[in-house]
Subunit: 389 residues, 2 copies
C-alpha cells in the first residue's frame, strides 16, 4: 500500500456555539487545515466528512456536498463523501481517505468531521445519540446511552473492583488536560470531590462522568507520502489502521467489560504499524463516559484487564507519565461534537508529534494513537501515527 | 490501481413491503449476493452500506454495524461503513468499496444499499427527501424535491422545446422494462395517455413523472480481479469510476438544464475506462423524475443537449435500440428505495453483462454504465462495467 501522511490540521473551538451553524463550523475547520497544509484548493482531489446525524440534528443530509459548496469548492466538482458509523464516523472517514489515496485514485484528500448538537429541534439530543445503539431492542425500551454505559461500569466495578473514584480520576485528568487546550469546551480543572458529588445521570455515572453535547469541527489534509515533502517538513505518517465491528446491542455481547471491537481494531492497527502498546507515547481514546476510557486503555493493551481504573488513579495516564491519554482533554473536556471526534483526535496527535502541543506537549512523542467508538462499541477504529522523519 | 470485479449480486423485491423491516431487507440482499458469489462469510474483509436517511426514516443510525450483526457476521468483527451522499449513496458506497480493494487493504468486500421508506413516523417521506437539497435556502422556504425538479423540467421545455409527451415517454419505456423485471415495484405497462392525464404533482411533472417511495435493498460482492476467478467464471470488471459534486442549491448553479456533476462524473469514468458514450450498450441512469433521465442521457453524452426528450420519444433508449436505458425499469418502475439505488443499478448491469437479464436482456451487451444522483444533482457518481473475458 502507498504510504499516506497528514500534512495539515485545523479545528474550531468546541462548545455551545450558538452563533455558528453546521456549515460555518465545517468551513472553518477545513480552511484552517488547508492553510496549515499550505495547499491551494486546486490541489484537493476529494473531500470526506465524518458526521453522525446531521439529518436529525439540523434536518440536513448530504452534508459533504454542502461543506464543499460553502467552502468555495463547488466549481471544482470534487467527489465528496459523508461517512457514518455512529460516533466513530470521524475515525472511519480518515480510514476511507487513507485508502482512497493508497489506491492511487486520489493524491490529496481533505477529511473533516463536524456535528452541530446544541441547536436541535423537537427531539432531544440524547434520543439522537441513542439511535446509534439498537433502536429496536434497546432504545425503544427506554435504554439511554448513559444507561447502557452505566451497565458496563457497574459490571466492571463488580468484576474488577473498579471504584467511582477511579472513574472520577479520568474526569479530573481530562479536565486538567482540557485546561491547557485553547479550543476545549471545558478549560477548567475539577476536583475529585466535584466529580463524585455531581448528580447521578445513570448510576454509577454522575454528570461529570459524562462528556458534554457540543458543536465543533475538525479537519486534516491527507497526502500521498511521496508527495508530502512538497508541502511540509513534518509529514506525520498514518502507519497503521484497524477497524472492527461487534454486535449492535449490548446484551448480545460476549462480555460487558471488554469491547471486542476495540481489541480487534487495536490489534489490526498495531500489526500493520509493526508496533506494540509500549511503543505508543500518546493516545486519544474515546471517553464519552469515564468508564469508556478505562475500557479503552485496557482493550488497547496499555494496561491489563481490570487495572485501567487503578492505573488512572495512580497517574499512569496523566500528561508525561507512562502513556499520556487524552492530552486534548478528550471528549470529556475538549468536547464531543460526535462527527468531529475521530478527526479532532487525529489533529491532537499530529500536533503532539510535530511538537506543537504547547503546554500539554508530550516530551519526545514519536508515535501516537487514536481510538474512536460508534454506539456502545459496535464499531471501533484505531489509527497509529508516526513522525515521517 | 489494482483491478476490481463484481463476483456476486443480490436484491430484494422492491415495493411497499409492510412485512419486512430495514434489517430484513439488508440481510436478504446481502445473503443473496454472498450465495451468488459462492463465497463463505469468512472470505469477507469489510462491509459497506449505502443508506440515505435511516436516522430519519426508522430512527436508526449506525446501520452498517446493524446489517453486519443481523447477517450473522458480528463474530468476525468486520469493518463496516455507512456511506451517504443523498440519493447517490449506493453509487458512492460502490466506489469506496472499489478503492478499499484497490488500495490493498481488503481483498473482498460486500457493498449493500438499503432504504425503508414506507414505514415512517411523524414526518413525511417527502420532507426527508428534501433534506438532501439545501435545507437552509430551499426546503425551509417550501421547495419540495418535485418542485425543484419541476423547475429544471420547465426550463428544459423553454430552452429546447422538450414536451410533456417526451417526458412521459420516459415513464412509458421504464414501465415497459419494469414489467419484465420480477423484482420491480411496478410490473405493468402504462400508456402515454395515463402518464399525461395523471394528477399534477409540481407543474409540469405529473404523478407518473415521479418515481415512487419504496422499500428495498441490493448488494454486490466486490473482489480483487486477480482473485475473482477463484469464485466465478464471469467476473464483471469495474473499469472506470467518476464522482463529482456541484452547488447544493439549485439556484446557485450555472444552468438548470445541465447537471455539471453528471458531466464531470461521466467524463472521469469514461476517461478511466478508456471508452466513449458510443461504446456503452446498456445504462442505468437516475430517473427519480422523468426529466432527470432526459438530463442524464444528455449530460452523459449519449445524446446532444436538448435532444434527450426527442430521442426517448423516438425509441432510441428503448430495450435493444441505440442504447438501452433503465432496463430494470429504473427508479420509476423498479422502485426507489434511495440508498439501494446505486447498488441496484450495478446489480442490473452485472446481470446484463453476464447475459442473465431474461426477457429484458440487451443482446450482445459488453459494456454497461450506472449513474446515480444525490439531491438535485449536487452529487453524481458514474461507474462503467465490462465483462472480464
Amino acid at each position: 500500500m502507498r504510504d499516506v501522511a497528514v500534512i495539515g490540521v485545523g479545528e474550531t473551538e468546541f462548545g455551545e456555539l450558538w452563533d455558528r451553524s453546521f456549515r460555518d463550523l465545517g468551513i472553518e475547520a477545513g480552511l484552517k487545515a488547508i492553510q496549515d497544509a499550505k495547499i491551494t484548493t486546486s490541489d484537493i482531489d476529494a473531500v470526506y466528512v465524518g458526521n453522525m446525524s446531521a439529518g436529525k440534528f439540523i434536518d440536513q443530509e448530504h452534508v459533504s456536498a454542502l461543506v464543499a459548496d460553502y467552502a468555495g469548492l463547488a466549481d471544482l466538482h470534487l467527489p465528496t463523501v459523508r461517512v457514518e458509523g455512529g460516533g466513530a464516523c470521524g475515525g472511519i472517514a480518515l480510514l476511507q481517505g487513507r485508502m482512497a489515496i493508497a489506491s492511487g485514485m486520489y493524491d490529496l484528500v481533505v477529511v473533516g468531521g463536524a456535528e452541530k448538537m446544541t441547536d436541535v429541534g423537537d427531539v432531544h439530543a440524547a434520543e439522537i445519540l441513542s439511535s446509534t445503539a439498537d433502536q429496536e431492542w434497546e432504545s425503544v425500551f427506554g435504554a439511554t446511552f448513559a444507561g447502557l454505559y452505566a451497565m458496563m461500569a457497574r459490571r466492571h466495578m463488580h468484576d474488577y473492583g473498579t471504584t467511582r473514584a477511579q472513574m472520577a480520576a479520568v474526569a479530573v485528568k481530562n479536565h486538567k488536560n482540557g485546561a491547557l487546550n485553547p479550543v476545549a469546551q471545558f478549560r477548567r480543572e475539577v476536583t475529585l470531590e466535584t466529580v463524585l458529588q455531581s448528580p447521578i445521570v445513570a448510576d454509577p455515572l454522575g454528570l461529570f462522568d459524562c462528556a458534554p453535547l457540543s458543536d465543533g469541527a475538525a479537519a486534516v489534509v491527507l497526502c500521498a507520502a511521496e508527495k508530502a515533502r512538497k508541502f511540509t517538513d513534518t509529514p506525520i505518517l498514518v502507519r497503521g489502521s484497524g477497524q472492527a465491528s461487534d454486535f449492535l446491542a449490548l446484551h448480545d455481547r460476549r462480555d460487558l467489560t471488554t469491547m471486542d471491537a476495540t481489541v480487534e481494531a487495536g490489534r489490526r492497527a498495531m500489526k500493520e504499524a509493526k508496533c506494540d502498546p509500549k511503543d505508543v507515547q500518546v493516545a486519544e481514546v474515546h471517553d464519552n463516559f469515564t468508564i469508556t476510557e478505562i475500557l479503552a486503555i485496557e482493550d488497547l493493551r496499555f494496561f491489563d484487564k481490570g487495572k485501567g481504573g487503578l492505573a488512572t488513579q495512580e497517574g499512569l495516564t496523566s500528561l508525561n507519565s507512562k502513556i499520556s491519554v487524552n492530552t486534548s482533554g478528550g471528549l470529556k473536556a475538549r468536547g464531543q461534537p460526535v462527527g468531529a471526534t475521530g478527526v479532532a483526535q487525529a489533529v491532537e496527535i499530529v500536533k503532539q508529534l510535530r511538537g506543537e502541543a504547547g503546554k500539554r506537549q508530550v516530551v519526545g512523542a514519536t508515535r501516537g494513537l487514536t481510538h474512536t467508538l460508534g454506539g456502545t462499541g459496535a464499531t471501533a477504529v484505531v489509527h497509529i501515527f508516526e513522525r515521517g522523519d
